[in-house]
Symmetry: C2
Subunit: 344 residues, 2 copies
DNA sequence: CCCGGCTGTTTAATCGATTAACTGGAGGTT
DNA sequence: AACCTCCAGTTAATCGATTAAACAGCCGGG
């Protein structure tokens, strides 16, 4: 791999490097005669010239690289889509992304920030794998964009899923099918999930909208994994039939998976005897379940795109209010009208 | 954010930039008096000097960045662990990784290679999300490392999972529990998976080892997703009892998930009536199933580490033979001895 | 008293581009 | 003839580091 410099192109074309630079970058192109341009381009081709971005970056003071700091974004399944979204925009704009995974370690975050600063990246995105309120690391530039998290103090561009609207969409789906006894299988409070609170708000809002009195017994909490969902669902399904829910809105798809298991164990069939709606739209769970799960999708890809667009200045963001990205409902086959005796 | 240059440090310390450079890099440090060193360091601290890696890279001809090109690595759940492994090594070595997701698009790959070359990355890793034989893109440097794939022509450092040994481990687990009628729920051939062939080899090898005559009826193929596994398992479980398998080794965890469902539908309990072993160790599937699934883990993290270690020259690789990374078995609760009437 | 060697630091070249300022000559004007 | 305007480039400074080579003092030896 020989090093070909701009000077080599210039020598071969019999011009100065300034001319080569102008031609190849299309700057001031009116000032260079077409013949010369042609010669330069041929020379560049002939010697196999590839511009050195390091040198260019030094001179122009922009690197066309953006740093993406994340707590374990890469190691968690769904959040990869955020990366894909960010990456796509970056590519469209001729930028590269440097990914740093800090595993939530303050020291690693410090280091990452240092390294990215040293590389003089053009922008920084700070991403979380869950919707969270984060104490951003000291030294994070003012104009860094927060992805799937918000700063407690505000004042920073940020994008998060519209969990409240998502919760509403999920419950509306069930109400529309005719359900009135709708449980919410929530995550335990100790996980301190922003999403939990907001989805619950959405749940209550739609019940109110539909004139349904919320039954506290139907709001249960468990660890947000399959076994948690299973146990919670089991308890609900063992209620006397008139107090039993005909539908469950689950905090996430894994809990919904547990609800399926519980239903099966109770000899109930989904969706005939029990309708279920999940949240997250995790491919490996929602789509693979039997029957496929109706769920609310987390707009990771879109949030990734949004963050990168803001980072690159393609789009303006209001630093005072986090941008709420819609969570579309994904209809599959786990919702149907309630059994006849419960119908309205 | 003011720009502090080395010259500013030099001015404040009353020395030349050469001295500052030597002190801060610890080069020739015996030649600089302790007092001066002290003064330089204080000055650097006082003005908040942060070295500019772009300038350094230009001069030293190394960027301390490595490019990681992948087909959809980020968008697929398990492969994120490869990234984590690579990232960890990079960080330990003071390197940064530039991630490019090409979605298997040849044009995107070309572009990515161009961009990374332009950035003068110190090394390149080419990663796949599945174990595959790939036609590497033209222009991929000789010393690029292949991750989870091999080139048909060979001649390149590469690391892949040891699928054959993994298959052996899985089947040994079942044989050790006393099973003799062990099915292999394989992926369909049209998916053309290297893994499929190798795991099957491992399966046959262990049967031979145990003196079990392989029954062709127990080697079935289906789409490697839950529904495929469910149907395949259903067919096997509807065989007359003496020809029915007492255990299933599934090509992946999703198929195993399907096998669980089929067993449930047939009124069989896992592992009492049917033992199941999966492959991949996908957290969201294997660990969440009821009972938790015994499976073979794909060593993504370790492969990621290996690739980065080779890329950074920390470890030598034989370009003629791909490195085989062991796939450890993960024991959970889906294997038990066969029902009494089948015992040995 | 001059020379050589050592110490501690500086000078200046260099990495490979970008770009503001300049130039030499052709052509046009008055 | 003197002067101006374009044209088609070129010159040289610059980005911010690294590093080989040079250099200024000082000490000791002959």
């Amino acid at each position: 791999m020989v090093r070909v410099r701009m000077a080599d192109v210039a020598a071969r074309a019999g011009v100065s490097t300034a001319t080569v630079s102008m031609v190849l970058n299309g700057v001031n192109s009116t000032r260079i005669s077409p013949q010369t341009q042609q010669r330069v381009r041929e020379a560049a081709e002939a010697v196999g010239y590839k511009p050195n971005s390091v040198a260019r970056s030094l001179r122009t003071q922009q690197t066309r690289m953006v740093g993406l700091i994340s707590d374990t974004i890469a190691t968690t399944p769904f959040a990869g889509r955020m990366l894909a979204g960010a990456n796509d925009v970056a590519r469209e704009q001729g930028h590269l992304v440097i990914l740093v995974d800090t595993e939530r370690d303050a020291v690693a975050e410090r280091q990452a920030l240092h390294a990215l600063n040293g590389q003089r990246v053009d922008a920084i995105i700070y991403a979380c794998m869950w919707h969270r309120v984060v104490e951003v690391p000291e030294g994070l530039p003012e104009d860094a964009v927060l992805l799937d998290c918000v700063a407690p103090a505000g004042g920073r561009a940020a994008v998060v899923p519209d969990e409240r609207a998502g919760g509403m969409a999920a419950v509306r789906e069930l109400v529309a099918a005719g359900h009135r006894r709708i449980a919410f299988l929530d995550a335990e409070e100790r996980f301190d999930l922003v999403a939990s609170r907001l989805r619950f708000e959405g749940y209550l809002e739609v019940l109110a909208e539909a004139g349904i009195e919320p039954d506290p017994a139907l709001h249960v909490r468990a660890e947000p994994v399959a076994s948690g969902g299973r146990e919670a669902a089991r308890r609900l399904l063992s209620l006397p039939v008139e107090r039993r829910p005909t539908a469950m809105f689950c905090f996430n798809d894994r809990m919904a998976m547990g609800a399926y298991t519980a239903a099966l164990h109770c000899g109930l069939s989904v969706p005939r005897d029990l309708s279920v709606v999940g949240y997250d739209d995790q491919q490996l769970v929602a789509a693979e379940l039997d029957p496929p799960l109706t769920t609310v999708a987390l707009p990771h890809y879109e949030m990734g795109r949004w963050a990168m667009e803001v980072a690159l200045g393609l789009r303006q963001a209001d630093p005072e209010v986090p941008h709420l990205m819609p969570c579309p409902i994904v209809r599959r086959a786990s919702v149907s009208p309630p059994p006849a005796q419960f119908g309205d």
